[in-house]
């Protein structure tokens, strides 16, 4: 812990010295905010200084507390992407200099650190967050200071902000493909098991509506608090309901308890397979029981055969402190930094308004490990391919289903007529 904070302090210190030197050398540096003063931004003038040969970015991940389990990997892959971009000449010719902050699995801390990164460190953009709660904490702050936040995790959708870019899947890129897959498989009955917070609740609301449309019967729905691992009582209900499939929206370590209770009760993937939206390459070997034969719905899998994936995997395996396997959320975090680079270079400026304008007026793409993703400049999400993988004995995923094309992001599910407007409003309000 102390070594981390020391490193952070050292970074902040060198950052400050670097900035001061740059200012001295450049005399009066151009400020990113000046470019478009009067462009309609109501926020305070930006203190972002890109007059030197570096650009400062903020990484905001929980390195301590419960979410460190997941967010450390995101932080690591952001560092890797930084090294790659810097080795390749940086963004607009400026090397990235990052300030790593610890969100500490505490949502008010996420808000405080966001304000610190924007107003004291004067970073041009912030990358990170994992839980929806952390994103909801960051949102009002980046909106107030007209900053930029890049959020890398699949989530419940029903959100859009001029100051946030979403590089993970929204529901129509993960949940709906999973349901299409189940329908194609001829599944008739489905049991919903989830952790008790906004993502599973919203996802299941959508699943129930779509299931009715597809003629799939929901035979049960169970939730357990995120911080509880014991699924015994709920699995007993599942065993009694005998569904064709289980749709699993459980998150974190509670998944381990669910899988253990599942096998304890004598359920098997041959009769009652599980489709998950949060078990990826990194989680599968940590279950304490082989999970071969179960399914997961993601956009990216390590097993995907794309042009850029082999190199991504190779670089990640060689990266210090890497987990050795690649997975969807970390790939989305990797995309986020490159997407920012593409946006800034299209805009020719680090200024937030210029970046947002470029997002709207130009086609921003990135050759991601999952394939060539395109940014939707209106809703700030990206197009993604839908994939269903089946876990094999090496805890890798065999791709068993893929969407025919990249799925355009539709966070409010406006293109789906089975999703009524009143439910949309109700869920959007509930999500805050």
């Amino acid at each position: 812990m102390s070594s981390t904070s020391k490193r952070m302090r050292a970074l902040v210190a060198t950052g400050a010295i670097g900035t001061t030197m740059a200012l001295v050398l450049a005399g009066c540096g151009a400020r990113a905010g000046d470019d478009t003063a009067g462009a309609g931004s109501s926020a305070a003038a930006s203190c972002v200084d890109t007059s030197g040969d570096t650009v400062k970015l903020g990484f905001l991940n929980s390195l301590t507390g419960g979410m460190a389990i997941s967010e450390k990997t995101v932080s690591n892959v952001l560092h890797m992407a930084t090294d790659e971009i810097n080795a390749d000449g940086g963004i607009l010719g400026k090397k990235i200099e990052y300030v790593q902050e610890d969100g500490a699995t505490d949502w008010p801390t996420f808000a405080e650190k966001t304000e610190k990164l924007l107003t004291q460190d004067c970073v041009a953009a912030i990358f990170g967050g994992w839980t929806s709660s952390s994103r909801k904490a960051v949102k009002p702050v980046v909106e107030k200071f007209n900053g930029l936040f890049f959020y890398p995790v699949q989530y419940e959708g029903l959100e859009s902000s001029p100051n946030i870019y979403y590089t993970g899947a929204t529901t129509n890129q993960q949940i709906i493909p999973a349901m299409d897959f189940l329908a194609a498989k001829g599944v008739k009955t489905l049991f919903l098991a989830g952790s008790d917070y906004v993502f599973p609740r919203t996802a299941n609301a959508i699943i129930k509506l779509y299931a009715a449309n597809l003629g799939i019967k929901i035979v049960g729905e169970e939730y357990v608090p995120l911080d509880k691992d014991d699924w015994t009582s709920q699995v007993a209900k599942i065993a009694a309901a005998k569904p064709d499939f289980i749709f699993n929206t459980i998150n974190g370590s509670s998944n381990v308890g669910f899988i253990k209770a599942y096998y304890d009760a004598g359920l098997t993937p041959a009769k009652t397979p599980i489709i998950s939206v949060s078990i990826a390459e990194e989680e599968a070997p940590a279950m304490g029981h082989e999970v071969t034969g179960h399914y997961a719905s993601w956009n990216y899998f390590q097993s995907l055969k794309t042009d850029t994936n082999p190199e991504f995997i190779k670089n990640w395996k060689a990266y210090p402190n890497s987990s050795g396997v690649t997975s969807d959320p970390m790939e989305a975090a990797y995309i986020s930094l490159y997407l920012y680079k593409a946006l800034v270079e299209a805009a020719g400026s680090f200024d937030v308004n210029a970046v947002n304008a470029a997002a709207k007026s130009k086609t921003i793409t990135f050759d991601a490990p999952e394939g060539k993703v395109t940014l939707d400049g209106e809703n700030h999400h990206i197009s993604k391919p839908g994939h269903i993988g089946r876990i094999n004995a090496d805890n890798q995923f065999d791709i068993v289903w893929a969407s025919d094309k990249f799925i355009e992001p539709d966070p409010y599910l406006e293109g789906y007529d089975w999703f009524p407007a009143d439910i949309r409003k109700q869920l959007t309000d509930a999500a805050g």
Partner: protein, 290 residues
């Protein structure tokens, strides 16, 4: 039938987690918030044993005593370095041990993969026992047996051995125990060792039920304290009954409602009970109640 059997197993796990606390909190009056992290240490010990002994059939039985000793040693270090200065200040032990717990959590996060580590259950726990049409997982039967063995061993040890007698003497009246020649310092250390070691055993059981990671201790510590308080401080039989009752209540509520609501309802029940009967199920006059 299902909720009753499931609940008994849930209660058994709670009991394992609470058993050590009923010694350190109940008998010694130390509020050890790091007890959950000792449980975590036991679970990680099980993982490490599985790295050495790869056959899970053998590794879990070996892991139980190993986890007991490892967690016990951590407890001993905590007692010798910190707790010993705070016996007359229970609230200070609370603050200090919260800090110790956070340090242990972060240490686990630094040492082990952040996603947590897998602990496999032995093959002989595959399968179910069919009771009145319900397929009762053998793993649950194992948790209940383990808890029973631990309770029996602990109460026999307290009752029949000279160590046990000296512990009870120290708890009842420290000064008088000292005048009869009992080294109360070494008794304190021993009690804390055993109490923490029992958390380690609970950790092995917990590793077969949920995830083994830096955060796992947190989900057991509050229910364990509630169980000890509801059972009556310093009372082993009270802890046993309270743990079973809470486990069964949790399971029945989960059966009738949802998992989240069950947590709320079960603990409302405990709180209401403690309002009506603050001294818990059973009472005994101990130093810690003075």
């Amino acid at each position: 039938m299902a909720p009753l059997l499931n609940g008994s197993a849930q209660g058994a796990l709670l009991l394992l987690a609470a058993l050590g606390l009923s010694l350190t909190f109940g008998q010694m009056g130390v509020i050890n918030m790091a007890h959950g992290e000792f449980l975590m240490i036991g679970a990680f010990a099980a993982y490490l044993v599985q790295q050495v002994i790869t056959a899970s059939n053998l590794s879990i039985p070996v892991a139980l005593p190993v986890a007991f000793v490892v967690a016990g040693l951590f407890g001993l270090v905590l007692e010798v370095t910190i707790i010993r200065w705070m016996y007359r200040r229970p609230l200070d032990t609370l603050l200090v041990t919260v800090g110790v717990g956070l340090i242990l959590q972060q240490a686990a996060l630094q040492i082990f993969p952040s996603q947590g580590v897998p602990v496999e259950k032995p093959r002989w726990l595959d399968g179910q026992l069919t009771i009145l049409g319900y397929n009762w997982p053998l793993r649950q039967v194992f948790t209940i047996l383990l808890a029973t063995v631990c309770v029996a061993a602990l109460s026999a040890w307290l009752k029949y051995t000279s160590f046990g007698r000296r512990i009870r003497a120290t708890v009842h009246n420290r000064d008088l125990a000292e005048t009869t020649g009992i080294s109360t310092r070494s008794i304190d250390r021993l009690t804390f060792f055993v109490g923490s070691g029992l958390a380690g055993v609970a950790g092995v059981a917990a590793s077969l039920i949920g995830g083994t990671n830096s955060q796992m201790g947190a989900q057991y510590i509050i229910p364990a304290f509630l169980v000890v308080a509801a059972g009556g401080i310093g009372q082993l039989k009270g802890t046993v009954i309270a743990a079973w009752a809470v486990g069964v209540a949790l399971s029945f509520f989960a059966y009738w409602t949802t998992g989240s609501l069950a947590q709320v309802l079960a603990f409302i029940l405990v709180i209401v009970f403690l309002q009506l009967r603050p001294q818990g199920l059973f009472t005994v006059r101990t130093r810690s109640l003075a």
